[in-house]
């Protein structure tokens, strides 16, 4: 069967969607801890009238345009999301959120497991001057959580990852490893020497 062409959908603005659904108010925005989106959302929301606050009419009033292009979608065989934090409880909640989001969006999940934690310890001198025998020890614990998604298209991966990353709590880092599949490029299918043979001597 020929390779199926999956059209690519452009994301209009994820901020608009989240702003619309969650009905962000100026109060919620002021205390927004996510620095990345703060300035962007504030500018957009100040333009919206406050009368549309907390009403369902807000959603239907602004239609989100979905543009479909003919560019073939990338296919990801595996997307592995590794989250790192200093608190195990935060990672538990985040894992629940990520797995539920994947289920709602219809993404098949592979393994969801917890790699063993890393503890980095330092031993420092307790006093500013002398007293070598008296030290103090600190440690930094990094807990991990790994979520594997299988058979994701490029558009779905972009949507899911952006959603996940915008809701990443403070103090949590993420590494996303994507394995994309591709066909063999056309110029590798046949050797180019067949039409123009260089040497006819035997190899061995």
């Amino acid at each position: 069967m020929a390779a199926p062409l999956v059209v690519r959908r452009e994301l209009f603005s994820l901020v608009n969607i989240l702003g619309g659904i969650s009905q962000l108010g100026p109060r919620g925005l002021g205390a927004c801890s996510n620095h990345r989106k703060c300035s962007q959302t504030r500018f957009e929301l100040l333009q919206r009238p406050n009368t549309f606050f907390h009403t369902a009419a807000y959603l239907s009033s602004t239609p989100f345009t979905i543009t479909v292009t003919d560019e073939p979608d990338t296919l990801f065989q595996k997307v592995v999301v590794l989250v790192k934090a200093h608190d195990r409880a935060v990672l538990d909640s985040y894992e629940f959120f990520a797995t539920m989001a994947a289920k709602e969006l219809g993404i098949t999940m592979g393994k969801v497991f917890e790699p063993p934690k890393d503890i980095e310890r330092l031993t420092l001198l307790k006093s500013v001057h002398i007293y070598k025998k008296h030290r103090v020890q600190y440690e930094m614990r990094t807990h991990y959580r790994s979520i594997e998604l299988l058979h994701v298209t490029g558009c779905t991966a972009q949507v899911y990852l952006e959603y996940i990353q915008r809701n990443l709590p403070e103090g949590v880092a993420m590494e996303v490893t994507k394995t994309a599949m591709e066909k063999i490029p056309d110029h590798i299918l046949e050797p180019m020497w067949k039409d123009h043979p260089i040497d006819d001597k035997s190899s061995k």
């Binding site: 059209v7 949507v159 590494e175 590798i188 020497w193």
Partner: protein
């Protein structure tokens, strides 16, 4: 205007707002403490409620949780990531380490609850709402590619790259430019000579057990550049391995990848030995040699020697060789 400085209010929000209004007239400092301090000069300007100039302290009133209905829409109470507000969360939470013979402190004014990131804005109802809105932007996975085997057959080239998200002075991470490209050599159009030459060119990057060639590119500063370089390398390797150079004709036995028994010292030795054992002198030597080669024991000996040389030596291989030698030399013990 007179200095506003020491006039303070209970609520933080108020302080900020009034600070903005009076900022233009000189330096002032707004403090947020729970005490009201007397200020003599602003009395006349304000014309405040009391004759003493003190605004009566406003009570806090009952917390919002008392007015919350049981079936309210929680997604509108916590629409986005916000710190924990004890007055807005109708849960009897306690957090903190209890002092001796005590219980964990209550939620009112609890710093531990404010410090930890909360997921109150991501309740299942909120997630469902978000996903409903995100659904139109997702695309379906093609149904014909359900198994890994089909994917490998149609799309053999795998490109692996990593993205990093963390808080810090910069959102860039230099490790994000690394690209790993994995191909199975069996999916490329290579003949015997081309495959052997490709393996020699590639060296360590090939894994014999899984038949996967891995090309890791990190020399370029951008991921797109590294990807293009990896594809370029694959193209060059492929075409070079099909090329037959004139000096390849000088390939000696030592350059061979695998041990082959034909025309080897082992074959010469065994044939000489057998000829000497059966020294009858009839017929040509070449015919006798061919006859000997066709014999079953000699073929078995050939197999055992080849397995010993090509694969890792093990107990079973050695035993097989021993049995083969016994049969060829007809030594029964």
């Amino acid at each position: 205007m007179a200095s506003f400085g020491s006039k303070v209010f209970l609520l933080l929000g108020r302080t900020n707002v009034s600070g903005v209004g009076y900022r233009k007239t000189g330096n002032r400092a707004t403090y947020a403490t729970a005490l009201t301090v007397n200020s003599s000069s602003t009395n006349k300007a304000r014309g405040g409620k009391g004759s003493t100039g003190r605004r009566p302290k406003r009570g806090t009133g009952e917390p919002r949780t008392e007015k919350m209905a049981l079936d309210q829409d929680w997604t509108s109470v916590y629409p986005a990531a916000t710190p924990f507000r004890a007055n807005a969360v109708p849960l009897p939470l306690r957090m903190g380490y209890p002092v001796k013979r005590g219980i964990p402190p209550e939620k009112k004014g609890n710093l531990e609850l404010i410090k930890i990131p909360n997921f109150l804005h991501l309740t299942p109802a909120a997630i469902r709402k978000h996903c409903e809105a995100l659904k139109p932007f997702c695309t379906e996975w093609p149904s014909a590619l359900d198994t890994d085997a089909k994917c490998d057959e149609l799309f053999p080239v795998k490109i692996q790259s990593t993205d990093y998200v963390s808080a810090g002075p910069s959102i860039r991470n230099p490790s994000a430019r690394v690209v790993h490209m994995k191909v199975k050599l069996s999916s490329l159009n290579l003949d015997d000579h081309a495959r052997k030459k490709m393996l020699k060119l590639v060296g360590d990057r090939y894994c014999k057990d899984s038949d996967i060639l891995t090309i890791k590119t990190e020399s370029c500063p951008l991921r797109q550049q590294n990807y293009d370089y990896a594809m370029y390398l694959l193209t060059v390797l492929y075409h070079e391995s099909w090329k037959i150079e004139p000096w390849e004709a000088e390939k000696t036995r030592a350059d061979m990848e695998e041990y082959s028994w034909e025309d080897s010292t082992s074959q010469k030795n065994i044939l000489d030995t057998l000829l000497r054992i059966n020294a009858t002198g009839e017929g040509e030597e070449a015919e006798v040699r061919e006859q000997l080669l066709g014999r079953e024991e000699v073929l078995e000996y050939k197999d055992s020697v080849e397995t010993l040389k090509n694969e890792e030596p093990s107990e079973s291989n050695m035993l097989r060789y021993k049995e083969a030698v016994r049969k060829v030399l007809k030594v029964w013990q």
